[in-house]
């Protein structure tokens, strides 16, 4: 990926969508995946996932707050970003982002406030000073609950989560559409792109939740709930099977059809992307987690070993998904539209859209999550009744 190969059009020597645009679908994926994880409990009543149901929502919200950062950092004129909301072009897939992202945020906030409503009321009654005012605000100025209101809240939670699932799917499927709808880039131009993006989103979200659940519990000196962890691992395996199937189908169908543009894509996969796609994405970071997940799901693994292997698998899957984003976003741009060559991309460390900026953007949601945990308890207390 270091040198130009063949003939590349003169304007293609520079890759315009850089590391920031790799992170953007990665973050939206984490949000969508985490929300779906939470909805599995709230809508489909998967009781085993109760320990992480609240955490998943806060996790999704923390990442939601930072989702636009890579985009704003990438734009040539970030000060004009609101033009997309004020004067959107109805024919543009990208113009819908502000509305989809914004409405999803509203839904997420409403869901959060309702799920935490009883807790917030209790915290309001227990707290004092500025924090009391914060809780008063978060209860929307109604700091009391009744059995009737609780029942109504439960219905509302279920309703919002039920809307939230298709909306989360839409959010991330839409991100895949942004790429899949570009006919000029052969590596992106496939109707499977939104599906692949969506499934990898679920996978990354679940992996993120598993990893942080284990790490935070260990940090607190507690044991992660074994049944919950096992369920998470099973869901991760299930979604990963679907994700991997779609990824392989996408490549496999094109490879089998062997139409003209496949030869260009083939050159990309066997050339500049050989290591990052075949060896890393599909080899090391898919095959090993796949086998480990199958073993963890099917065998009777001891809790300690399950925790360790689940953490390792989650890290590997989080890497697999970012590799997939990288290979799609950067890889697609490496194919010259001349059909006769491949461009090159150099990831800077200190540049505006470099590795350091990316690491800061990825760390920010975790910092926000930390502060949110000071206001919203991430875990169910043992005395809490099932919501």
């Amino acid at each position: 990926m270091t040198e130009l190969i063949g003939y590349v059009f003169p304007n293609e020597h520079h890759v315009h969508w850089s590391f920031m645009i790799v992170l953007y679908p990665y973050i939206t994926g984490l949000i969508a995946g985490a929300f779906i994880m939470s909805s599995l409990y709230h809508v489909f009543n998967v009781k085993a996932l109760r320990p992480v149901s609240k955490f998943s929502l806060v996790f999704a919200f923390a990442f939601w707050t930072c989702c636009t950062l890579p985009l704003l950092n990438h734009l040539g004129h970030p000060e004009r970003a609101l033009n997309m909301l004020i004067t959107p072009s109805p024919t543009s897939a990208m113009a819908g982002f502000g509305y989809i992202y914004g409405s999803y945020g509203i839904l997420l906030i409403m869901e959060l406030l309702l799920v935490y409503r009883k807790t917030l009321v209790e915290l309001y009654q227990r707290s004092s000073g500025a924090l009391k005012k914060v809780y008063w605000l978060l209860t929307l100025g109604v700091p009391h609950v009744t059995p009737e209101s609780e029942e109504a809240d439960k219905k509302a939670i279920k309703f919002l989560a039920a809307i939230g699932i298709p909306w989360a799917c839409f959010l991330h499927g839409y991100v895949g559409f942004i790429f899949g709808g570009v006919k000029a880039v052969h590596w992106w131009f496939t109707p499977l792109m939104p599906v692949v993006f969506l499934l990898s989103a679920c996978v990354s979200g679940i992996a993120g939740i598993i990893l942080l659940y284990i790490l935070i519990m260990k940090y607190r000196g507690e044991e992660p709930d074994a049944a919950c962890l096992k369920s998470c691992v099973k869901y991760l395996w299930g979604f990963f099977i679907l994700d991997l199937t779609m990824e392989l189908l996408d490549v496999g169908i094109h490879a089998y059809l062997r139409v003209e543009h496949w030869h260009i894509v083939e050159g990309l996969l066997n050339g500049p992307l050989h290591t990052s796609f075949w060896i890393m994405q599909l080899g090391v970071f898919s095959l090993i987690p796949f086998l480990l997940l199958a073993w963890m799901s099917l065998a009777d693994v001891k809790p300690r070993l399950l925790q360790l292997s689940a953490a390792v698998v989650s890290v590997m899957i989080l890497i697999q998904v970012i590799l997939m984003r990288w290979n799609v976003v950067i890889g697609g741009q490496l194919i010259s539209k001349s059909g006769r060559g491949y461009s090159a991309f150099h990831l800077e460390f200190l540049g505006k859209e470099g590795l350091l900026a990316g690491m800061i953007i990825m760390a920010l949601p975790l910092v926000i999550l930390y502060f949110l945990s000071k206001i919203l308890p991430l875990w169910h207390s043992s005395s809490e009744a099932e919501a």
Binding site: P10, G76, N83, M84, P88, V182, A184
Partner: protein
């Protein structure tokens, strides 16, 4: 003859000669004063202001511009292009195009006897082309292909622009509103011809405009003017007498680039071989 010249020669008296000198002196002083005055005016009024070069496109000047009255198109005659780079130089000067960005460029195609195709475009052909020394195969064909915006009728760049900064005019141009563009580069991705780039100073998308500012003044695009072989042709398809109309109605084989993209370009190629992409 000698008698005539002798007759015309009149001997002046001293007073007559003095009067003649005085008249010439007054005339000289008048002319100097007039010249100084006129010169001063030129310092105030810009020389040639408001004057355009003679019109090159009929039916544009001297009347209100009707968007629907024109349907401009561009034809590149590949058999005429000599790869001199004059068009690229003219374009770079017209727009002060930054280095490593290209509104237009020229590609050199060399086709070997065995069918292998070699394409290059060093600096976009801005400095012309030096002979290639890296090919040790017999070459059976060689030609130059100028590239520029295709001004597609169904332009993907217009479709994907999230803020409508890239738009289409009824007279056949795809233009960019630099005051609205957010610099997201979605149009750069969507253009199948790679004619777009992000301007390093403006931080917005940029591309060839077929010199819209010149066309609206009845002038040909800068690259068309600069081409010494008339490989670049521009005109109004609504004008049946234009060269463009005649070419596109002729039995010549006319092609567009990447037809399968469904973009319906307004840029046509005359004599493009199948290897041209």
């Amino acid at each position: 003859m000698s008698s005539n010249s002798a007759a015309s020669r009149k001997v002046l008296t001293k007073d007559e000669a003095r009067a003649l000198i005085d008249r010439d002196r007054r005339s000289f002083i008048k002319k100097v004063i007039g010249g100084v005055f006129a010169g001063s005016l030129l310092m105030v009024l810009e020389a040639g202001s408001g004057e355009l070069p003679p019109a090159q496109l009929p039916g544009v000047r001297g009347r209100e511009y009707g968007f629907a009255d024109h349907r401009f198109a561009f034809v590149v005659d590949i058999n005429r292009c000599i790869g001199c780079g004059s068009c690229c130089v003219a374009d770079k000067r017209e727009y002060n195009v930054p280095d490593h960005a290209y509104r237009t460029w020229i590609e050199r195609y060399l086709i070997a006897e065995d069918g292998e195709v070699f394409v290059d475009s060093p600096d976009g052909g801005l400095h012309g082309f030096k002979p290639r020394t890296d090919i040790d195969k017999p070459i059976r064909d060689g030609f130059f292909v100028p590239k520029l915006c295709n001004m597609c009728k169904d332009a993907p760049c217009v479709q994907v622009c999230p803020v409508g900064a890239t738009f289409k005019t009824p007279d056949g141009f795809v233009l960019i509103d630099y005051e609205r563009c957010v610099g997201c580069a979605y149009c750069v991705q969507a253009c199948p011809y790679a004619v777009r780039y992000i301007h390093p100073v403006l931080h917005t998308a940029d591309k060839c405009t077929w010199c819209y500012h010149r066309v609206r003044r009845g002038l040909l695009p800068a690259c068309v003017n600069a081409c010494p072989t008339k490989a670049r042709k521009f005109g109004d398809l609504n004008d049946p007498d234009s060269e463009i109309s005649k070419i596109l109605r002729s039995p010549e084989i006319i092609t567009v680039l990447k037809k399968e993209m469904g973009t319906a370009p307004n840029l046509y190629y005359l004599g493009a071989r199948q290897e041209v992409m």
